[in-house]
């Protein structure tokens, strides 16, 4: 049997190709939106994996350093090290900030870490690890920083000594790793004017500046300018111990909040990017409806354009199922053209998105299935019209 749908598509190929391109761009946007969501989830997982931690110990009643501000004393890690099952514990700070690079500002997440301990970037793609105690940074390549470049963070200039990749915050900002002390200073140290003002206020307070107590004022001033806070303590669990059990001990005995990796992933994926996910899902539904409307409109108008031919086909004995199959195949053909174009453009333009776009084969398969279903539904109206055509209209009178 001749493929009536195939012949009709070939006959109106220009209309099909141009409609397919339009539909394809819509499908491309749809696949990209799904890819953006996948990228956000993947970024979150990479962020957790690359930290090398099994447990995040944070300020009580907070959700941890990625979701909420958390403030701990920087000696809390010593107490945690004493808990059975803790192999390593290290302080980290996280601060989202703007760094000036020449004429442009780069938004980054500055991570303070202790070299050789959890929190360190797991691998470099160029340069070396931080070897000095101060004024060196390792940056993600997406910052655009180059090896040897000097960047200013708060009061000091830092040299970029190493580059890493795929190290971004949960909001997609590239990370810059710097020594913990420098990071603490950048995050907690007041500016010079504020320090001078604070010193004057302290010195004028007779309770803190007693004439008979030499050294008291100096000790108070020193404590005011010291940066003794961190955002979290990353804990690595010794083999043979359950992370949940160790986390429970930290909660119970150290009066801190402790999250295992699974719990932190839940916070990042289910809580932090939940609104974005809902936003994307809403957008996907709208795109699906728009795609269905376009396919439906095109197939419907094409069917209206051949009512006479349909009447002739019915008059000469073409079964309804053949006519319905023709319209369904045309609709599916349009969807397949659109999907191929959409998948191609989504793959081509994915690297140009500012955020990571992860196009999973599974999503492509689901997208194809959705396209087929949408096109099948979109053809129903046209099929209904075609089946209602009266064969008598082929005969005049």
């Amino acid at each position: 049997m001749i493929s009536l749908a195939g012949r009709d598509i070939l006959h109106h190929w220009a209309k099909y190709v141009f409609t397919g391109v339009g539909l394809g761009l819509l499908i491309g946007v749809t696949l990209s939106m799904a890819g953006i969501y996948r990228g956000m989830v993947d970024d979150a997982q990479v962020l957790l994996r690359s930290s090398g931690a099994d447990i995040w110990a944070v300020q009580q009643e907070t959700l941890g350093p990625y979701a909420e501000p958390s403030n701990l004393r920087d000696d809390a890690y010593r107490a945690i090290l004493g808990i059975p099952g803790v192999a390593e514990a290290s302080n980290v700070t996280y601060l989202t900030m703007q760094i000036r690079q020449g004429e442009r500002d780069v938004r980054v997440m500055a991570v303070g870490f202790e070299p050789g301990r959890p929190g360190e970037p797991p691998f470099l793609v160029a340069g070396r690890r931080i070897a000095r105690s101060h004024y060196e940074v390792v940056a993600d390549v997406r910052t655009g920083f180059r090896l040897g470049e000097r960047v200013r963070i708060r009061r000091h200039e830092y040299e970029v000594v190493g580059l890493t990749r795929r190290m971004v915050s949960s909001s997609g900002d590239p990370m810059v790793f710097l020594p913990l002390k420098d990071a603490q200073e950048a995050q907690f140290l007041k500016d010079n004017d504020a320090i001078v003002n604070e010193r004057a206020r302290t010195a004028s307070n007779p309770a803190l500046n007693r004439p008979g107590v030499p050294g008291l004022l100096d000790a108070i001033l020193a404590s005011q300018t010291a940066s003794r806070s961190v955002n979290a303590v990353l804990v690595r669990v010794a083999s043979g111990h359950e992370a949940e059990q160790v986390a429970e001990n930290i909660r119970r005995w150290k009066h801190l909040e402790a999250y295992t990796r699974a719990q932190m992933e839940e916070i990042l994926v289910a809580k932090l990017i939940e609104t974005s996910a809902r936003q994307i899902a809403t957008f996907l539904v709208i795109l699906a409806i728009v795609s269905a409307a376009i396919v439906s409109f095109i197939i419907y108008t094409m069917t209206l354009g051949k009512l006479r031919e349909l009447a002739v086909l019915k008059l000469i004995g073409t079964p309804n199922r053949t006519i319905a199959a023709m319209i369904l195949q045309q609709s599916l053909g349009l969807g397949l053209i659109g999907f191929v174009i959409g998948k191609t453009v989504a793959t081509l333009w994915a690297p140009y998105f500012p955020k990571y776009v992860l196009l999973l084969p599974g999503d492509a398969v689901r997208g194809l299935a959705a396209t087929i279903v949408v096109c099948a539904i979109a053809s129903l109206l046209a099929i209904r019209v075609a089946l209602k055509v009266d064969p008598a209209t082929a005969i005049g009178g």
Partner: protein, 235 residues
């Protein structure tokens, strides 16, 4: 006379109900032998198209009797459930305009019917090619309908009507858009095909040029048919 290709007795058709109803056919009688070409003429509104639709099993008559090749298809009601197959296998149609399927080439426009009847693509195309050759359009077999002249399109439409070797072909004003020479040529072809394939052909026409070519005519007036002898002038 042989078993008639088509026999109609007291066929009636009423549109609407009650006093508002209109009797389009009021008892039509026809009997046409295989291989015969008859004309059906009448003024506008006389019931020609209604009769053609009833004969083509497209609309249901209100009453009467109709048989195709001796087989009763209507006797107060349809005696055959699958009217689509009945049309496909027993009735060919030629329209005023050729109404070829624009996205099929000439061969496939003709071969579509045998394919619908279950023939293989190869056999259907062979049948189509044979008929197209007989109608002198074999050389345009791969052309699209839009590439054909009006006369060529009408010959392809005739091939489509005949390809399943139906006992009856209904032709609705097949020469209307053609000049005298082409109109007479179409009639020549219809007569030749009717004789060759033993097909009864009913030609509905207003065309004064071709009326003298019929040996027998049915004139329809106010829903009734009146048989007349035609001139039967050679085409």
């Amino acid at each position: 006379m042989d078993v008639p290709a088509i026999e109609v007795r007291g066929l009636s058709k009423r549109y609407g109900e009650g006093e508002a109803g209109v009797d389009a056919l009021k008892g039509v009688d026809m009997r046409i032998a295989p291989g015969e070409v008859v004309g059906l003429i009448g003024p506008s509104g006389s019931g020609k198209s209604t009769l053609l639709k009833c004969l083509g099993a497209v609309i249901e008559p209100t009453g009467g009797y109709m048989a195709l090749g001796g087989r009763t298809v209507f006797d107060g009601g349809w005696k055959i459930r699958d009217l689509r197959s009945l049309r496909r296998d027993n009735i060919g149609f030629v329209f005023q305009a050729p109404y070829l399927i624009p996205f099929l080439d000439v061969t496939d426009n003709v071969a579509l019917l045998p394919m619908l009847a279950g023939k293989s693509n190869r056999e259907a195309r062979r049948q189509a090619a044979e008929l197209l050759e007989a109608l002198d359009v074999g050389h345009r077999a791969k052309a699209a309908p839009s590439e054909l002249s009006g006369g060529e399109q009408q010959r392809v439409a005739i091939a489509r009507a005949l390809v399943n070797r139906p006992p009856v072909v209904l032709a609705d004003e097949p020469t209307a858009p053609l000049d005298s020479e082409r109109a007479l040529n179409v009639m020549r072809i219809l007569n030749r095909m009717a004789e060759q394939y033993r097909t009864a052909i009913i030609v509905v026409t207003h065309d004064e040029k071709i009326i003298p070519t019929f040996r027998r005519l049915y004139r329809i007036r106010d829903g009734r048919t009146f048989e007349e002898a035609g001139e039967g002038r050679a085409t």
